[in-house]
């Protein structure tokens, strides 16, 4: 059963991801007072890229060729492990928060290394910035998650989600602040304004893609949309598991799917509104923002020590 659930999650995430990035684009266009393309544009983009010829940098090596495939594979593993429809992880052996953080590090390692591998100045810059963002965000993520895990007594996402869902948290204020800090850290990880500008290529998130084209680029675009869905689901699984199935039967299963779709849709709508209402921060000032987020997670930990 859990194997079926894991496969289903992978399929859903793969199929839904372009829809969500398409919807985000549409919201952005509307908020910019543009007409914009419809929500299915990203499917068409991916299909078109698949049929195009691939152009590679002449100094690139196997790392750049392997990266899109590996990036997709990491997203598949993450989609198996992160609870979406149920509270418990479909594959508990992949459901530990430390495992998720380090699987994301695997994708980041190759993403950035491939950028350096192409020896393009722009891609390299983007790859480097991706790494720096990781350095600035990862400690916050870990501290917030550790605070929540200490409340729940386990670092397994299923156990943490269950504690929140049943209200069995000994320190509600600390959990709430951990949720805020983790949400902010996830937002940075999503690579949206004010931390990144997705339309401006050669920037943080899309910069490393400068040397990609054809099927590789299609695969990467798909995988990066998947990553957005996965990161949001990660947050929801731990801090907002409401609606997810505690015990699995047909009714709770359907409810779980509907609840997950709704939660993800709302989360991305909120993200889109925030993204289009703020200005982009200067890269050099990124540190001050991430310090503020880190401060929130420290505050959460302080409340945890006090026990409220």
């Amino acid at each position: 059963m859990s194997v079926f659930l894991a496969i289903l999650q992978v399929v859903i995430v793969t199929l839904v991801a372009p829809l969500i990035s398409g919807a985000t684009r549409l919201i952005r266009a509307k908020m910019h007072s543009r007409k914009g393309s419809d929500v299915f544009q990203d499917y068409r983009d991916i299909a078109k890229l698949m049929t195009r010829q691939e152009v590679r940098s002449n100094t690139s090596s196997f790392v750049a060729r392997v990266m899109p495939v590996l990036y997709f594979a990491v997203m598949v593993v993450l989609a198996c492990g992160i609870p979406m429809i149920t509270i418990a992880s479909p594959v508990p052996l992949l459901g530990d928060i430390i495992t998720v953080i380090y699987l994301l590090a695997l994708s980041r390692f190759f993403f950035s290394l491939a950028a350096v591998d192409t020896s393009s100045a722009y891609a390299g810059r983007g790859g480097l910035r991706e790494l720096i963002v990781g350095v600035l965000v990862e400690p916050t993520m870990l501290l917030a998650l550790f605070a929540a895990a200490l409340v729940a007594g386990s670092t397994n996402m299923g156990a943490m989600g269950l504690a929140v869902a049943t209200g069995a948290v000994s320190a509600p204020v600390a959990t709430f602040l951990a949720a805020v800090a983790f949400a902010l850290a996830c937002y940075v990880e999503l690579g949206k304004v004010p931390f990144d500008m997705a339309e401006a290529e050669q920037e943080l998130q899309e910069g490393p893609l400068a040397e990609y084209s054809g099927p590789s680029l299609a695969l990467l675009k798909l995988s990066m949309s998947m990553k957005q869905v996965i990161v949001v689901s990660w947050f929801l699984a731990i801090f907002f598991p409401f609606g997810a199935a505690a015990t699995l039967n047909f009714g709770t299963f359907l409810l779980g799917i509907v609840a997950w779709c709704l939660k993800v849709a709302v989360a991305f709508a909120v993200c889109a509104v925030v993204e289009n209402s703020v200005m982009r921060t200067r890269y050099k000032l990124l540190g001050t923002q991430t310090w503020a987020i880190f401060g929130v997670s420290v505050l959460s930990f302080a409340f945890l020590i006090v026990g409220v």
């Binding site: 590679r56 997203m75 593993v77 992949l94 350095v135 040397e211």
Partner: protein, 669 residues
Amino acid sequence: MIISLFAASVVLSLLAGTLSIMLRARDAVAKGVGCWMGAAAAALSLVAGFAAMVGEGARASMPFLFPFAAFTVQLNPLEGVLVCVISVLALVAFVYGLSYFDEYPGKVGRACMFMNYFVASMLLVITADNAFWFLVFFELMSLTSYFLVTLEENPSSIKGGLTYLVMAHIGFVMIMMSFLVMSVKAGSFEFSAFRTLDLSPALASVCFVLAFFGFGAKAGIIPLHSWLPQAHPEAPSNVSALMSGGMIKIGVFGIVKVGVDLLGASGAQLWWGLLVLVVGAVSSVLGVVFALAEHDVKRLLAYHSVENIGIILLGVGVCLIGSAMGNLVLAGLGLVAALYHTVNHAMFKGELFLGAGALLYSVKTRNMELMGGLVRRMPWTAGCFLIGALAISAIPPLNGFASEWLTYQSLFEAAFLGGRVPMVFAVLAAVALAITGSLAVTCFVKAYGVSFSGAPRSQAAAEAREVPLPMVVSQVLLAAICVALGLGAPLFVPVMAHVASFTMGAPAIVAADGAAIQNAISGTAVSTPLIAVLLAVGALVAVVAVRCFAKGLAPKTEDPWACGYGSETSMEPVATSFASDVSMFLSPLYRLREVCTAACWGVAHFFQKATGLARWMEPQLDRYLVDDVAHGVDVLGGLAQRIMSGRMGAYVAYIVVAFVVFLVLAVIL
């Protein structure tokens, strides 16, 4: 059986060393004898170590040379782990040396001798179960490695060697004091007598802190790390692998041995664990921060050793916290994490140093800025280096991830079970580990990317050739071990759990469940083989999908895009690009280094002042006692100078005159 195998290995090492120095006149012969016999000895000790690691321990004792200290050897599981680590590294280092020592014409005999003696003394330090012999072999280990560091005899290696020697002896003195306190109390130099000691908490703390900083100096913990980035890069690369992968682990081993084993009966104090956690956290973060600023690939790796020692100490800290709390399962979890990271770090750091040696061999520089594009010239080295880089960055499913996951779990349980004070320390240590992890990713994207990716940035890099077969084989071997220890973690972690429970006399720790490693307390688990399988499946799906949808047009290659300008190699991201960005965000930490270095200089300066004072004190007596006499001699000398003209004829004349005078005197008297 285990002991005799071990003894055979040590004897063979000594024989190999002695023969290779005797055959030093012919480099090729000395190299063959030294390396092959050394490798054979390492294979023997590997078998002995492995048997000890999974077994129930063995010991032997005999009176030897000194009546007050019997020569006692113990090979319990804990010693077995270290013997295995050193043996594997020694084995590949000797195989590697078969080609690498060609870089040291005229010095091969010496290098082989010191390397064999170095390996033997490391093995003996680990197994010695007598404080006196432990110290003797510890000193031998420092001396033999000193001669390996200074093998090149250039100013930087002599300077690095001297720093190393001074630091090694500062550590040695502290360890000696700790052992002397225990031996006075126990009335014997035997460790078995130490183990039954019931010291007062204050005295036990003195012993532990002295031993912690003493062994810490050997391990390279942060305030005492300055020798590592100076000494390791100067040694031949296979010796660097042996030092960085093996020797500094003896520091960790010593800390565990004193804290858990020797002082076991006195009981650990909670603040020992907290101290170890703080030192570990600081070492891990600062180690990687300093590594990021390096352009010299071997210095970069040396700083990463500081980082990884810090990570190992986090596990040791949890172990001490657990034993202080009387929670042996928690202590066991910490010790398992520390031991597994010790093994893993030895393997991937050994691999990376061998890779750095291959770069040095082919490109003749350690400066990464002058490399680039080497993946096409040296594919084997590049592949192995990439595996090592992934492993050290704790990327799943490799071995570094398995042990760091265990470290996180042990920190989590220490925080969960330990009450408020351990919670604050353990959580901050976990945050430090997270910072370390993300910085390590950055650092190794830099190290691999700048050296192997992109276009060559120097003539030497453009013409580099893959290294000879023995060097390739040894790199591949260590890279394969890294993969095996990662994917096979569910098999190897229970062995570490056996070692931990044996060492602490604790009940068995359930560290694995089927194909997963698990946190014995909360039950949360991770399966590295499953991650590997799913990654492979995901990759396969992606490849098949691309094959199905793509039209199969042949890819074409172009210059990298440069906004319409011609692309040049000078546009590539280089080591400085990484360093400047990181230093922009982490500038306070780099300022801290300046403060630390200044403090180090302060210590050195203190010693200078002390010697200065001694130098000033010394002549005070002389002024009154000796100076008048000396002055008188001076005056006489001045007079004598008048008749010392320096001409041969004059001296002959003096001799003749003196002869005549004596003759006359003899006749008269």
